[in-house]
Symmetry: D4
């Protein structure tokens, strides 16, 4: 199985909308938002080409998380007029292919639909798919586990934001301060270690 790397990976953030956020119950709200922002920070830090998409922002699903929208002002942003599977939207697929990347890192809400459907479609077209399981949310753990099982069966690799950031980094000597900041901002137990360590110096 291949490793995730900076030159090959693109980031797909799918339907992290404020209405849908209220449906996510397999993580606490604080954990989940932290994980989503960590993924976004990681994608930005490593300059991964990023594609944003939403489903019905004018309806109950609500707007895309404003923090994410602001963080990627120049990323292609495809509000889908109706397609549930983002891969059924031509503009989305065009934007993904325009990145020229063969590794797709996917996170979204809800896992078994908005993440799993495009993940399966992308695998069918020969992409390598990495799903960020802790930045993808759904109704409960039964639902999450069924979604993970289905995607794995089809060949997707399951990762977390921490594995994603670490795998993209490879070596601390290569601008490690950027990674350290991501760790400290989103992993409070690591931040405590750093504060304790710095205080000793």
């Amino acid at each position: 199985m291949s490793r995730l790397n900076r030159e090959d990976a693109a980031m797909l953030l799918i339907d992290h909308q404020v209405g849908l956020l209220s449906l996510v119950r397999d993580f606490t709200p604080a954990e989940f938002k932290n994980n989503v922002m960590a993924v976004a920070d990681t994608a930005k830090h490593f300059n991964l080409p990023t594609v944003l998409t939403t489903s019905f922002e004018q309806g109950p699903n609500g707007v895309l998380l404003p923090e994410i929208r602001r963080m990627f002002p120049n990323a292609p942003f495809i509000p889908r007029p109706g397609q549930i599977n983002a891969w059924d939207n031509e503009d989305f697929v065009k934007a993904v292919k325009a990145t020229g990347r063969k590794q797709l890192v996917i996170a979204g809400i809800v896992t078994e639909v908005c993440v799993a459907f495009p993940a399966l479609s992308a695998l069918n077209e020969g992409f390598e798919v990495f799903v960020v399981v802790d930045a993808s949310g759904t109704f409960n753990k039964t639902t999450r586990n069924a979604a993970i099982a289905r995607m794995q069966q089809a060949g997707a690799q399951m990762i977390t934001w921490f594995a994603m950031a670490s795998e993209l980094q490879r070596d601390w000597r290569d601008n490690g301060d950027g990674l350290k900041k991501i760790y400290c901002d989103h992993l409070l137990e690591y931040d405590a270690l750093v504060v304790a360590h710095d205080a000793e110096k």
Copy 2:
């Protein structure tokens, strides 16, 4: 792996009987009945050919859930005289094959027997099998997990009622109100979003 779609799918509802319902402990009773009715509503909304079967209605297993019986008055209904695996009943298999569909969506009680046995048999005969894990119930999570693992090993795809409904829908612009009603009726957190949204207008 293939996608579930309206033209290829048939629905098999197996042994959702009132006595057996009392054996289901991997979901709360309210959750489970909600999921079962959501699957039934979804099958009906998308006009999936549906086959009903029961095991020993005169015995302790009890009658089929009356709501399901009423919802599919014209569906083939095969009360099995003794076969535990519905696929061992010729009439059942005949009814399934008469649908002309190659994708079988299965839900039932209990997961490791009434669902898993026909799922394995259908896979052996070349059908694609989708198991609705949250509309299939059993004694506890250990049992459920063993059943899911066995069916996956044999090639079945695990889905939930929400994934099933969404995958069949494909596009909100294609009579999305039907799907919205199913969501609102069976996903109370989504319904709350809709009420809140409508009140703002």
Copy 3:
């Protein structure tokens, strides 16, 4: 400790608003809405004087659950202009006292604030307070337990909707069909028993 009874009890439904519903995570959405509607049905069935109140319906808290609003068209309904503790609102207290009842049955969102604050205030004024713990929701179980402990310490009795309905009923021979309908509508495992039993006859 006194028993809850029909002649002495009034029902206070506090802030069951659609926005606040999305904050409730100590129950699943399906469980919680079921419990809230069961309490409402019980209060209505036993003709308990009922007082409704909300906090900021125009804001993110959202409107009162429409089903509840419709069920009690003639109940005093006090949208509070700002008071967090409903008991700090004169109109609310006036409406409560106008019922002439000394037993207050309280349910609401969120437990440690919208339920606990008026419960403590009412106890201070000499009312008997019964809190319906499964129709009151909050962020998590730690929060719920702290709220329950505080209210108990002050003298409130913790009940559930099922205990409330049963305690008000006293005797099945006194129009037991009404109670049976409430049980069947909100306790699906009991409904399954009834269907199985009726089918045997």
Copy 4:
């Protein structure tokens, strides 16, 4: 607080009916039935005067567990015609008082109604009440905890079947083999110790 003892205690077994058993979800079925039978064996072994009662045996609640019925052929058995709180039934109270005991050990289904209501009533009349929490079952742990809290607030002592048996025994030298048999029959981990120990001899 007083100790439970053989001379002062009576046993009240309330509504352990086969239909109601299917409602009990705060214990697994195997655990719960084991605990109920352990309480019955304990009461019988120590010759505690025992009172049996049921609610609507002809309805969905079903018949009293046959094993219990057979074990106490001569105990007063009061099928209640309608009263939910057994203490509202004159015959039941008469039977309880006829035992001449002041300590009432209570177990039943469901905890917050069939156990809690007579427990509160008996406390009001000056009895000492001991509730066997693991031989009393209900819908879920939230419900159980609310019931326990309410009964404790009113002065009832919470015990388990193991504490009950041990407290009644007092001293192993006083016919300890009877207690040992109860332990071995209902506490399989203890039985394993005994088998291992005996094999060493």
Copy 5:
């Protein structure tokens, strides 16, 4: 994947010893012993050739559960002098092969060693292996899950005692009373259904 059937299956009960029982913590003692006895009853009922083995009965592992020993007086019983993997013991393998069966149903203590090691060895020799996960016990769920995953990866099928009994039975009309008795003896919630049903007649 093949179905389990009476003509092809043999039962291997490995190290269900009273000392080792105290190590099992992924099930409660009552649940676990019930499941083990259910597997034994099922094997006996369907006359599966059965092989018993133990590890160091004279040491802290303790003697084989006496009930199992008594139930299979004529089964080959191989107390292993030292081999941890039963498959490393020639007499055991000889006994297994002497059954002439190609489907091996395995249960034992502890799952990741006494079950997994012979399961992997038997798969290597071309047997079909069915592991009864709820009659195999170990230290905790992390350990159990690792063991299940390893065995599945190697091709073993995970089942439960209930699935085993049902799959061997095939049809209720073929001496269904035997199966019914096994269900009632080991599945108390099913027994309650039967008692309720019989009482109605």
Copy 6:
């Protein structure tokens, strides 16, 4: 029982040190830090006199959370030279009494020692004590529950940061924007409601 109010309350933040943070396991790190900062923000917003103390900052316990230190530059800060119970330190008690407040809101690490000991001592001296249970952390839930039970038994009231903020606020019309900001910063599910609501306008 009295209500918490702005004029009577002082805030005691005890031993929220970076080393001790790593011991807290009854909350996830993200949840716990969020709760601690929410309490600090609340105390600051309502201008509660605040007292800070630490135990052995030079040792493994580590420095006080820098964010807290910076937020209260003028608060009395008592690094204790050895006393485990802060109330055994004269300077600390002097600082508490200098606030002139009779209601003490306490949070700290670890709950059963650094919170419980001064809570019990303060109760003994006649203060009203409110413990913020979700901003106080310890090794596990067993430990937390024992600590809460002991403090309650002695008369302390258990609250959460959300209840604290809401009880101090009393009325949204009294500078509600401050409270709203605290809610949005520390309660991400509420923030999502606000973003969704504002987007509708």
Copy 7:
């Protein structure tokens, strides 16, 4: 409520026998033994008069943990000939009273019997009772919680070994190295902090 202190406290270790250890399931074996040894180390370090007792060492309950036996060679050790409640044994009570202490710190197996019975008896005789909840074990959490509730109702204070050690210590400057060693030996997360801290120096 009074504080635990070195001059007033005696330690009672009740029935920590190797057979009974296998019954303890509300803690993992590693956690529980660690807690028991931590309590023993604490009692020894602070020279609390300690009384040991066992029930039927020759039977399946097994011998007292050898480590405890060796640690207190001169402590009164009362093997009870039959009394289940240690307080029913005259020698035990005599030994307790001979310590001259009024605060009794109790830990044992199983919580609801071997701990609760003497705790209730001692409270009845006017002793202050502190129960070390994490060094007392039983069958499951339901049982533990019932036992804790009963003892609290009677006036016992619930503590943990960590609270016990810290409350006895009072001040780190008073031979703090002894306490530090107990912490490091039994609280591995604290030990890690110390190693990390020392490595920085």
Copy 8:
């Protein structure tokens, strides 16, 4: 799938550093350290060639657990200057290859990075990989499960320290006392069995 054996296996202990230990939350600290030391004892007992490595010992990750360092004074120890994946460090790979072993047993902190990355790399180079899941720790179970799934998908076998020790031992008659000591030191429930058994003799 192949069996783990003494002649083919090498042990890789990766980043068991005191700072990182505080990040491990999928095990309790006592459980986790016990498991790590059990793995180390097992590797040492069976003389597996062992390679140690750390990441940034001078930084917040902290020093390698001193007990491990002392136990393998002659093992190659590679403090990595920056590589996150140990397999990206030439010296580490050289040390691994120098062992001449084809089976790599890996444990480390954190599972999804420090364990998973070299596991995937080693599998890519044709090694057999065995991951000790209970001696590898990470932030939570979601993260652990994702890591396990990914490694399994790539062909790694999941084991526990107990399975590892037992699989390497093969036969108790081959110096079984060494294994027995490892069991007794790290499996306290087994130790209790041994003490009980020895006391009977």
